[in-house]
Amino acid sequence: MRVAVLDMGLGNLLSIRRGIERAGQGTAAGLDTGPGSGARAGVEVIVAQRDRDADGADAVVIPGVGAFRDGARALLERFGGTVERIRSGEIPALGVCLGMQLLFTRSFEGGEYPGLGIIRGDVVRLPPTVKVPHMGWNSVRVLRRCALTRGVQDGEHFYFVHSYYCRPEEESVTVAETEYGVPIPAMVAKGTVFGTQFHPEKSGEAGRAVIRNFLEAAVR
């Protein structure tokens, strides 16, 4: 399968690209390219610079680096067509960290800026009662079993780095949460659109399993 990582020009995408490649090297049924397929790895990752680079992709990853305003602008300027295909459910998407926040209606990071509005809700600053950024390994509680949370254990740790967090209007989109001063959606799912507030590509084996879950959901 082909996965397009949307390059919003905000930072290095090597880690996320490698994270997807490593997850794709699993032997899980949906990704197994099978003997004789000629492919050593089941997943080909394309770093897309513009819409047409993502045309042939089976899934899209919106990476997690940079500021909300710049990310939202770059997404709409460079990937307007891809965003519409994500919105319509034509192509599955995983937003990582900032990439997950961009799926929401608006953010208050450095002002007030509109996001993609695929998931209704706001992105707001962490409370002043905790050290910001929320940085390090925190555990999650699974609220709903879905393609993304399959096999994820309650109490499993993932690597978080963020100063803002998502507040979805519909509670049901939060499929796993963590806590840092307030309950924080750690994973969201709405149809074929998924998000992780943590960095799965920096979360060792636990993160690899979550990326693999997404890839399997995308090929299904």
């Binding site: 290095n12 490698r18 490593r22 910001v132 950024p133 925190n138």
Partner: protein, 266 residues
């Protein structure tokens, strides 16, 4: 659900080679920073810090090459410090795949560098490293140039300023305790940790797991950095984490790779 305390092994790198590597471990090439980092990842390290101690400045490409290779292999975050002097250096290191850069002398000389880096890459990428030396009871002075030059600046005040300028984290080394293996400077660590609203990594003095326990409890540090106790295989990262877990300090559980393989969903 609690944010866990992080255990961070530090690797000193000279001209692209690890100076004090893990001994008694079956690595193909014990001088290879990537292999060392991967071994620490397997042991359960939460992050890795690489400290480039190369004296000459004409080895930037060697460092960048190491960063690129590490980013390719490692699936936990890593920080690169030492010799990061300018915005161009910050950019090169981060664009090569490091998660964070640590600024020490350069941040003192030009605090705007903290702000520039944070504005472009985000605060979480900018660690300010402070080398502090005790001058009297409750007073510590900031040193630069690898601890050779006194600045006259108060360490606690500098940590507060660094946060204001946009630092996402403080890496705090006690020069008095560094290398002593007598434990961290708990007063210094606590003072800084209580004065800023960003995470503080305690560094300098770890000789055994109880020192790390003290830094994370009495010292109120968010993370503990250690070098020699891991390098000489006196303790593995797993040993330290088990010790902390038994005493109620929240840490990320360590799994052996075999367990993880079995635990994978089919």
């Amino acid at each position: 659900m609690t944010l866990t305390k992080r255990i961070i092994p530090c690797l000193d790198v000279d001209r692209g080679r690890v100076v004090k590597g893990i001994r008694f471990v079956n690595l193909r090439d014990a001088g290879d920073p990537v292999e060392q980092a991967l071994e620490y990842e397997r042991q359960g390290a939460d992050e890795i810090v690489f400290l480039d101690i190369t004296a000459s400045s004409d080895n930037r490409e060697t460092v960048i090459d190491m960063v690129r290779k590490t980013a390719y292999e490692l699936s936990i975050p890593f920080t690169v410090g030492g010799g990061v002097r300018s915005y161009a250096d910050v950019r090169r290191v981060l664009m090569a795949g490091a998660d964070k850069v640590s600024l020490n002398t350069a941040a003192v000389q030009n605090p705007r560098l903290i702000t520039e880096g944070a504005e472009i890459f985000g605060s979480q990428c900018i660690v300010v490293a402070i080398d502090a030396k005790r001058i009297s009871e409750g007073k510590w002075e900031v040193y630069t140039h690898g601890g050779r030059r006194a600045t006259g600046m108060d360490a606690v005040a500098w940590a507060v300023k660094a946060e204001e300028m946009g630092a996402g984290e403080i890496l705090l080394t006690s020069m008095d305790f560094d290398g002593s293996k007598d434990g961290y400077d708990l007063d210094l660590t606590r003072r800084v940790s209580e004065s800023v609203n960003i995470p503080v990594i305690a560094s300098g003095g770890a000789g055994n797991p109880s020192h790390i326990y003290e830094a994370l409890t009495a010292g109120k540090a968010d993370a503990a950095l250690a070098a020699s106790i891991f390098h000489y295989a006196e303790y593995t990262v797993g040993d330290v984490k088990r010790y902390l877990m038994e005493r109620g300090v929240p840490v990320r559980a360590v799994q052996s790779s075999q367990q993880e393989e079995k635990g994978q969903p089919a």
